[in-house]
Symmetry: C3
Subunit: 428 residues, 3 copies
């Protein structure tokens, strides 16, 4: 339970807000690289943290991310011409390069130097892991580009999707670090994700539906341990990495299956991009695995064709099937692991009223993540260091292991929690 | 004409408002019993007086009406499982009984007593007359359940429907106690309602289009008399009962036809449920009568299939037919008595601006009903008695009678205005 | 660039606002005469400057424009009966004539004089040029009816259309006095308008894409001169008339082609009517010309059938065709001169934030028009004279001429800028 004031501090991400300033210190997943597939392709609209932007790939293949509205008369650059290393506004022909320089101003007299005084807002971009990332913070504080394991792999070893979620980013992310809901919302569908196939862990998961949670701070975020009893001597531990400010890695099911990961990024304060990634550090994804992801199975979602909006949505009650609910094919009647999550998260309203919640021991990760975000925002305002910026904060893995009852997971799984490029990960 | 401040006092019904507090002193028609037809059927969303609720029928057939949002993380209980005498949230499995007790909390450790500290908001319900009624006020002030004549009859003697109206409840109700509009809005359709068939009254109604109104307070609301001249010696009186806070009974057309009644209940301040009831105190409704009601004739309405929204609505200009208007088949061009009313009421906007109206003598009932509501709200705030709560305030009838010119209707129709179970009503 | 306060002063047009008061001093194009084609036809909704009105043509063919909401209980007169020289509300039968007199009040007792105290808001109307114009200002300040050349011609010599634009009127009008955008937004479509066919001017227009602008005040508005170099001795001048408060005349392309004109009228502060007119002062429009206008070519637009909403709109990204953009068939990818304009204007948002713009020398006309509007509003408040009201302010023409380099256009084109009924206009 938060005060209304705490809730506001956490969910507002526009320019100048406390959380907005913090989030702007990180590289931000902005769009799929495939949305701007080739040089001089059409520009696309991108909204991030309340700011309306236009992404384009210039003639040399470089990515630009500009304020959507032309500096001249504020017409949308969505209608602009992407040509000869710049975006030319369709209204009066002002042209910008990827850095926001006005490189042509044909509406003004020959010899005018007006264009030199125009600096159009532009954010630097990098491409990694099939994603265009941008940095929207102060230039002098720009950190090294993201090094999340999935972002550093060749394309054949990963699959990245995004979907629009109609809630604040925090509400979506809280669902991602809430290991407890899995036993309920997904109870009848844990076998459905092809990424779970044939693993010992699933048996332990089903045998003990009341896991104990242990959450501790990592350098870059949180380590969220959920332990289930296996027998007299051992616990089955599932350890989730939460990396500031919005990344999670799902504990694996066996080393033969791909890993899963997420990111939740504010579009504005009432919508966010839910990013979902499957990847395998030591092998290519199989054709059947990719086909399943393309179909929107597992952590991915089915779309309204031609959009990143989900087919199941508030407008159709998420295609709820009461018979499937009755027959224990779906706990809530909603089909698909992703839709089971976002249907419940959206049902809380676009910004959940956290003054009304009643948190239990199973909500420890949520409580700590909020605290960490608020503390980091305060520290950042004071000029202090921000967690989750250093490359080693990104080079981590989640894990699932059996440990003797007396062994703290932080110790027993210590090595398993570090990402080692080219090396197999640890999972039973 | 009201001041803006008076208007606000009348139309705001959310928790803590003056009118909201008053309305919460009464049993409220919440939903049709048929919406939750059997034990453990799917829960349904219900919104009343601005509060979002979930109705369900438990394994024993008892009705529960809970706050829609789970006490834990405020996910919607629309997705909950209705099983084993309780509603189990689909997110983390918290389970509530019809009284709002948290009877299971499987996400917390065995032995946790956290669930005992959770009291989920729940409102008591009764079923009567095919309707689930709820009481949303202070427990210690809960009155006896409703005893409106139609609510006490067996199902074979009544037909109850509800439709969504996109206005404040008061605006809708004012239409119901406004006998004057009948001669205009419904002028060319008075014969259409099968409930009017073959009655003397219709002739008097058409012969004198300028009735004189006499309105007086009854114990539970208002008696609204409209008199029309029959001949030298007699008046044709139509007397409408308005029962606090939102009920009306339509004066009958002959004793062979069923009676009609209404209720208008706030969903929020800009929408309401318009309830319409036909009933006969001494006989079953005939098959052809019920068929006509199911078709949406008379005081009932045609729906968009699968909803309680009307087929004719603002989005399609109420299917206005200008040729029918020209041909005097419909005064406004809108088809159907119900749609003729709600099209005009909705055309005033969701909350009519009563500072702009200019009321005449024919608006006496409206003026007095507002006054009574405001006075009752004030009295209630002061701890005083509230009209319309006592069973005898419900046990009333409307009537249509011929009286000698010198006889006040309150006197001449006195006996006719009391409901006597099993006894024929009075109407010419 | 304006301050937020200046922007607000310019765009707010509701009753009592500074700009609203100014605009109410002029005759306002309210609706097409064809929308109320014959006596006693159905009334139509009209919204102007934020006021909701109902237009009707009475039994004698006279046009009335009344407040939409009945004075009695504020039901919409959209549902009213248009009969026997008045509009009768469908709720209780109150009837108004075109002057807003309540000529019948059948809901009140015989002999009641209540109706004499009702004065329903009504605005005087005139019909000219296929348009119903209204005057919404103080009666004592009502100017002579409009005398724009196109409004004074017989129907065979003009074609008038209107379309809904989802921006403030000023934003739309700024597009109309912005000669600079033509070389960009319409670059690949200048030959498309059949009204441009076979003229010398088009060649000069294409040869010099950086015209110099000279803007000077006229008695009724602005003279906007754009000059392009023809050869050593001569300039090609295109001179646009802007007539207060919202009219423009497009400089002609040859005397064999019809002229073009516009008006932009606030519906509310976020939508406006864009009026487009083609006319020829000395001949009838040809059948093929009218056919092209009906098809929505040139300055006219294609509609969603049965509406004045454009087929290309924000909901479908204006049917942008990226291939056409790449192939240089359309600069922005949007098809049609009108849609190229309104797509960009609407992309700025319903009310453009003028604190963010960066104006150049090519924006001189926009800067001066804003200044003139603000100055006129201030003068009007102080009781001073308002430009654009006198008949001679309306009796003007735009022109396109070749002039020796030394000759100011105001001098060289002086005669060409005056409308002379029945006389040919001047254009190369």
């Amino acid at each position: 339970m938060l005060t209304q004031e705490q809730n506001e501090r956490l969910v507002r991400t526009g320019p100048g807000t406390e959380m907005g300033d913090l989030l702007r210190r990180y590289w931000i997943p902005a769009l799929l690289a495939e949305e701007i597939p080739e040089p001089d392709c059409p520009p696309v609209r991108v909204q991030l943290l309340g700011e309306r932007l236009i992404a384009f790939r210039d003639t040399k293949g470089r990515v630009g991310l500009l304020d959507e509205m032309c500096s001249h008369r504020t017409a949308s650059l969505f209608f602009a011409r992407n040509e000869e290393c710049g975006l030319r506004c369709a209204y009066h022909g002002w042209k910008y390069d990827i850095e926001g320089n006005c490189v042509d101003m044909p509406s003004e007299p020959v010899g005018s130097r007006f264009r030199e005084r125009i600096k159009h807002p532009a954010y630097p971009c990098v491409e990694r892991g099939g994603v265009v990332w941008t940095y929207m913070g102060p230039a002098e504080l720009k950190p090294a580009p993201p090094e999340l394991e999935w972002a550093m792999l060749p394309g054949s070893q990963r699959f990245v999707s995004k979907r629009l979620q109609e809630t604040n980013f925090l509400q979506a992310m809280e669902g991602g670090i809430d290991s407890s809901h899995v036993s309920f919302a997904h109870r009848f569908n844990m076998d459905d994700d092809p990424m779970h196939a044939g693993t010992e862990g699933l048996v332990y998961l089903k045998n003990d539906t009341r896991p104990k949670f242990e959450v501790s701070e990592s350098d870059g975020g949180l380590l969220i341990g959920a332990r289930r009893t296996v027998d007299e001597e051992r616990y089955y531990w599932r350890v989730t990495q939460w990396i500031m400010p919005w990344y999670t890695i799902i504990p694996p099911f066996g080393t033969h299956n791909p890993l899963g990961a997420h990111a939740w990024v504010p579009i504005d304060d009432e919508t966010c991009w839910a990013w979902s990634i499957n990847y395998h550090p030591t092998r290519d994804l199989r054709e059947d695995e990719v086909a399943s992801m393309v179909r929107g199975e597992g952590i991915h979602a089915k779309y309204i064709p031609g959009t990143y909006r989900t087919l199941a949505n508030a407008g159709n009650d998420y295609l709820i099937d009461r018979q499937a609910q009755r027959d224990k094919r779906s706990f809530s009647g909603v089909e698909g692991i992703a839709a089971q999550d976002f249907s419940l998260q959206e049902s809380m309203g676009p910004i959940v009223d956290r003054t009304k919640e009643r948190l239990g021991t199973s909500d420890a990760a949520i409580i700590l993540a909020r605290r960490r975000l608020l503390a980091a925002a305060e520290t950042a305002r004071g000029g202090g260091p921000v967690p989750g910026l250093a490359p080693e904060h990104h080079r981590v893995r989640s894990t699932s292991v059996l440990l003797p009852k007396g062994t703290p997971f932080q110790e027993g799984a210590q090595e398993a929690l570090v990402a080692k490029p080219g090396e197999e990960f640890v999972s039973i």
